[in-house]
Symmetry: C2
Amino acid sequence: MQNKMAGKNPGVEPRLNISQIGGEFALIERLTKKPVQREIIKGIGDDAAVIKAGGKYLVLTTDTLVEGDHFSHKYFTPEQIGKKAVEINVSDIGAMGAEPKYFLVSLVLPKDIDIKIIENIYKGMRKTGRKYKIEIIGGNMTHGRQLVIDICMIGEVKKKNLKLRSTARPDDDIFVSGDLGSSAAGLNLFLENKKGHVNVKKRYLEPEAKFYKVKPFLKYINSMIDISDGLASEVTRICEQSNTGAVIYPDLVPIDPATRTAAEICKKRALDYALYGGEDFELVYTVSREYTNKVQGFMVGKITRKKGVRLYKEGIEEPLTKHGYDHFLI
Amino acid sequence: MQNKMAGKNPGVEPRLNISQIGGEFALIERLTKKPVQREIIKGIGDDAAVIKAGGKYLVLTTDTLVEGDHFSHKYFTPEQIGKKAVEINVSDIGAMGAEPKYFLVSLVLPKDIDIKIIENIYKGMRKTGRKYKIEIIGGNMTHGRQLVIDICMIGEVKKKNLKLRSTARPDDDIFVSGDLGSSAAGLNLFLENKKGHVNVKKRYLEPEAKFYKVKPFLKYINSMIDISDGLASEVTRICEQSNTGAVIYPDLVPIDPATRTAAEICKKRALDYALYGGEDFELVYTVSREYTNKVQGFMVGKITRKKGVRLYKEGIEEPLTKHGYDHFLI
């Protein structure tokens, strides 16, 4: 994905203080100039870049997994690491309304790494590749102090199917494609050394892209993003790019009972997992009122002319912070 | 570039033992399946991948710089790091006969990094971008224990200009586009704490892609590769992919007098810098005998039917090891 300081797994390793550097989103935008080439349909600022090539639109994204930050060998098998690296990029491509096609893999490997680990990471990548009928077309290996997997993925999209973050309209209903917070709950269970809860933990270990869920009704969607960093962050990004605000109805956010149970055990609020946890890889999409009966999913909020993202419950509005996950320290 | 365990700067940090894992080239090829999609013109195995998109050929490559392995803040300014990250990818694109167009940047940042360093890395990337009229279209930031810069670059090439490693022919003459070994000499001077020799050191700190040198006579070139890992490795790659062998005439390898002086001071052989040092980013290209008068550069060897790469001097042939840089420990 683009523009993301991926503080996804708080607690695994201390992270860069984003607020100190003004937010990674703002930082990358500030450090990158507006594109001038006419073939660049969308540069920095969405889940993926879009370029015109021949008669087609190509969609390109890059995402990185860092050992200790995005995964730990304590919880993940190498195959799961490989699968996750591909899924999160497929999710970004799907969030543009596009189909993934190819990817390039850069690995940074600690010098004492067992070759079996590399083989099984690749095995995981190939398996997920087969699932989506996409292929590895390039690769690079180098060494460093910790394992880093960087994938650059290329997809294709028809112009009419292209979905951006910047095209939400006031009064759009905000939908999510599935239940939220389970991935954060899974991580929390691991960090608290809680036994059992295999299904919740699996949602953390084996995330899957969800494009298939929205594909049938793509034409009714005004704007879309995938959930990497929690519903709060993603709705904020849509609003910033679309020059709108939003309200989220916390009681309507779908949360699996197993996620609620995990929250109780870890003494957390399940809603915080959903809002600030991240890595659900469900899609958030906005739809004009007149078409809400044409789409599926869970209505969780509304785009507003009034700026800022607010929680709305029992007549009371409460502002949401921009980078929810900064305040979500497990 | 593709298929490379970038053991470029021996001595800066201990590296993965490539021979132990069977060579990174063989490793990536083994771990990646042959492409099945018809749009994939060239997958793993060259400087960049080639895909058909609309009526065009797109060329894609990824390359990584790791702190302590490919650069040290002791020698490089942040701006030089940013420039180098872009140049090495431009070099891979050029080695395919292609023009660079866009790139995506993934940064892994230590949590205590000064924002000024990030800004100046980006400044360097933007400067080199302007030089080639190419643009940053995507970015990602995450954190980790050491600074990692991964760039995925996209270029375009007309079918007739596409140059591969796999198309050298027996009796082709082997050319290089410029003098070799200066980058390795520069690094060696740094590691030996030698003062002065600013120009040699600059060749290490500020490498530049050399595509412009061969562009005027591209149509006479049968196969091409850029020099990331030393002449020995690159000729070996051409031969492996083309199912040929080669002889290299060591006396014809162009070496700058300043590089020779540096070698003397460091008590090394300048030829070893050229053969095994790497990061020259000059191009190696092979040309049919009948067209050698149409091209420019330095003739340094010959493609042969007989397999293996050999040094040829005064009637004696001496085999070259496959991964020269494994045996070149500064």
